[in-house]
């Protein structure tokens, strides 16, 4: 059986975790402070893992992720608040709308490299924000009030699905195609990989989940405003992915959890937080550019201790 211990053990642990938290929440024993932290961690995880696919795996330096999040947030909010449609439908719609934005941005961007792609995506993110600022139907600058519909069940399974989908994609020939294109686009083309197609796919999947995250975000904080979805938000998520290690899903997860906790701890001192982040970012790039985990996954650490036996894939990051 190919779906082996590597999948079922973490999966079962996750389900147990879900059940425990669900119990604590329904019985009212979980402190709202911890509940908020947990929810924020989960939302940030969806943002970061979706960006990881675009930047970390496929090497497309996209720093306008907040734009996709905004699309998901606003579309879902309009569906629930203005059209009174069910929450789950709104989440799906948010994801799909963001995915469409992903295609619109991905297709013209495919011929841009490195710095230029970064600036173009930043520009797109800003255009989306400015457009939202000018639409009165969604409240313009004042924003839009959104009921709190995000609950633990929806949130948990959204995160789980995001991670599983992106992990499954990565550990397949398709993920390999993306990594190859990240490593050397010309060589990837020369080996028969349709690099344009995979760049767009990465954008679509990444933006879809960003939109889902945006929908969950919108229905968690009572109000959404365009200024929240500016490049500062894009940079926040970028920092999660970069510090965790560009190309490592586990690294992204770990750094997102840690940094979200730090940011909540420092939420009364936003300048201190940003100064700290920026210094850590600069030092990391100078002294340890591969971030926390480079391109390795947590399972690679276990290889050394022979815990997950019988696996011929050794140090590979892709099965």
């Amino acid at each position: 059986m190919k779906i082996n211990k590597k999948f079922w053990i973490p999966f079962s642990l996750a389900i147990v975790f879900y059940a425990v938290v669900q119990f604590l929440l329904s019985s009212g024993t979980l402190n709202p402070y911890y509940e908020n932290t947990l929810f924020l961690i989960c939302i940030n995880l969806i943002f970061a893992v979706s960006l990881h696919l675009i930047i970390g795996i496929t090497g497309q330096f996209s720093i306008g992720h907040a734009g996709f999040i905004a699309v998901g947030a606003y579309v879902s909010a309009v569906l629930t608040m203005k059209m009174h449609l069910p929450f789950l439908l709104a989440i799906a719609a948010g994801g799909i709308a963001a995915a469409i934005a992903g295609i619109l941005i991905g297709v013209p961007s495919f011929r841009l490299k490195g710095d230029y792609l970064a600036i173009a995506t930043l520009g797109f993110g800003e255009i989306i924000r400015i457009i939202l600022l000018n639409i009165d139907y969604v409240g313009g600058a004042a924003g839009m009030n959104v009921s709190r519909l995000t609950n633990w069940t929806v949130l948990f399974f959204s995160v789980l699905i995001t991670i599983i989908v992106i992990n499954n994609f990565t550990k397949s020939t398709h993920g390999r195609a993306c990594i190859a294109l990240r490593e050397d686009e010309i060589a990837a083309d020369a080996m028969g990989i349709n690099t344009t197609y995979y760049k767009v796919i990465a954008f679509v999947i990444g933006s879809f989940f960003a939109g889902v995250g945006g929908a969950l975000y919108a229905h968690n904080f009572y109000i959404i405003q365009p200024q929240v979805f500016g490049f500062l938000k894009s940079f926040d998520i970028l920092i999660f992915v970069v510090l965790g290690g560009l190309g490592s899903l586990s690294g992204t997860v770990i750094s997102t959890v840690l940094l979200t906790i730090v940011s909540i701890y420092l939420q009364d001192y936003p300048e201190t937080r940003m100064i700290l982040y920026s210094i850590v970012l600069i030092l990391t790039m100078i002294f340890r550019p591969q971030g926390l985990m480079g391109t390795k996954e947590w399972t690679d650490l276990f290889k050394k201790y022979g815990k997950m036996g019988g696996n011929q894939n050794g140090k590979q990051t892709v099965a």
Binding site: P108, D115, I127, I186, V242, I282, P289
Partner: protein
Amino acid sequence: MELIQQLINGISLGSIYALIALGYTMVYGIIKLINFAHGDVFMVGAFTGFYLITVFHLPFVLALVLTMLITALLGVVIERVAYKPLRNATRIAALITAIGVSLLIEYTTIYLRGAQPAAYPDDIIPNKTIAISGLTISSQSIVILAVSVTLMIILELFIHKTKTGKAMRAVSVDADAARLMGINVDRTISVTFAIGSALAGAAGVAFGIYYIKIEPLMGIIPGLKAFIAAVLGGIGIIPGAMVGGMLLGIVEALVSAAGFSLWRDAAAFLILILILLFKPSGLFGKNIREKV
């Protein structure tokens, strides 16, 4: 007439963009880095000028020169501390570091003096308006244009007539060859940053005088727009940055004049997308292919 009035506004704005764009284009030309922190140097220039004028009561010209020296120093410090160690790193690592420096400057400024805006006194340049056939041109506009044009002319002379200028051109074409010719590449890069940052500082003071209100995050959007202007003219090409800056300022003013002022910022990004789609090398640029 309203149109021409806006055009004049556009030229003033455009010269500010041009001054900032020059810094971007020179740095990109020489080390292929988009200096994300450049917009924040512009902001530091605005605040430095502000404090020199209001707290130290320095006259305009002295404050301007001193600001330019201070921002030049800031530029060199940033380069030596944050960018030099990454000269051989991937472009993405350098770009991320630049983002880090940008955030650091912004939030340190907020930490030190708060996020609230400050207001330049509106009488630094005696408030006269000149009326020509129905148009009113403020003395501010004239001074800004004069200062910008003067600085750009000085820059052009420097680049083409001095040894250091020649070195800058050499290093941007081929750093290794330049080194073999005996050019001190490190020093040349530092000088490039110094000059670019000084111009950004001047732009900051000009902005303060023209628009009065300054705040710690003011550098982000003009910074991005100035970068777009540099790309429009052809990144790495100095006359391109000047033309690009002017064009962008004029386009923005015209968009405002047409009644779409809320969309002003979007206009710049749209121009960026169009350039990158149709002529990524910019108006004056040449296509450079990657060697396979």
